[in-house]
Chain length 146, copies 2
């Protein structure tokens, strides 16, 4: 048992090959970053902070790695949860309008919800999901219903 | 502008090659999952939900991808933010005790904070970070100070 580690997922950082272009995509989603222009941009999103950071710099800082190429599936997905079932479909349309590639159309899932997937211009994968009985706190953070 | 997409980062899912083993690692960090045993485990962590999902299943569901191998740097980092500067060092020791590999020792950063990095047993990278002037809401979710 590691008492020294809080139960927090505070920040998610995507290594970005073109921070400015990727930032512009997320701003087209309607998300706002107050960060000055540069190799980093932060988007506070409900209960977590989503950040973009120059891919090579992040890879080096995080232990001397090489950044994977843009477009490669990273084995990681991020999710935006919506309040109503039909908002999944609408959100995927909105993402496509902003320049995303829809990877999987909205569909009902065997766990009782509905979801679909899109990729940002560098191939980072997002799920748009509706979970029955989910609710959200005042900041928009998901309250896990299970 | 895509009005159809809420400003939320609700869930982060890591494709896991061995869900049970990876879940056990995170439980050794002191994090709790109420999920039944299987190919999925959810850990509510403050303002976001952290989940593990069978890597091949996630890759297929998210658009017919192939899962990257365990151990590869994914170009994505997740962060646990702590309240005090010296907790960065303690959290890295705690992670190592739980079976993590420390990738970058705690160090002061040029943005004024302190952080270090560790990898879980499948190579997924976490940063432990202290940000001056950060605070947290009642659920432990970071309030971005910038």
């Amino acid at each position: 048992m590691a008492d020294g580690i809080p139960r927090r997922l505070s920040v998610v950082t995507l290594g970005a090959h073109d921070v400015a272009a990727l930032r512009a995509f997320y701003e087209r989603l309607g998300w706002e970053s107050g960060s000055p222009p540069g190799n980093f941009a932060a988007f506070p999103l409900g209960g977590a902070v989503f950040t973009l950071y120059d891919a090579a710099t992040l890879a080096e800082e995080a232990g001397g790695h090489v950044a994977p190429p843009a477009g490669a599936f990273r084995g990681v997905t991020l999710a935006v949860n919506v309040d109503e079932r039909e908002q999944v479909d609408a959100a995927l349309v909105a993402a496509a309008d902003a320049g995303a590639r829809v990877l999987a159309a909205a569909q009902d899932r065997d766990w009782g919800g509905r979801s679909g997937y899109f990729a940002d211009p560098e191939g980072n994968v997002w799920e748009v999901a509706w979970i029955p009985d989910a609710s959200f706190d005042s900041r928009g953070a998901l309250i896990w219903p299970y």
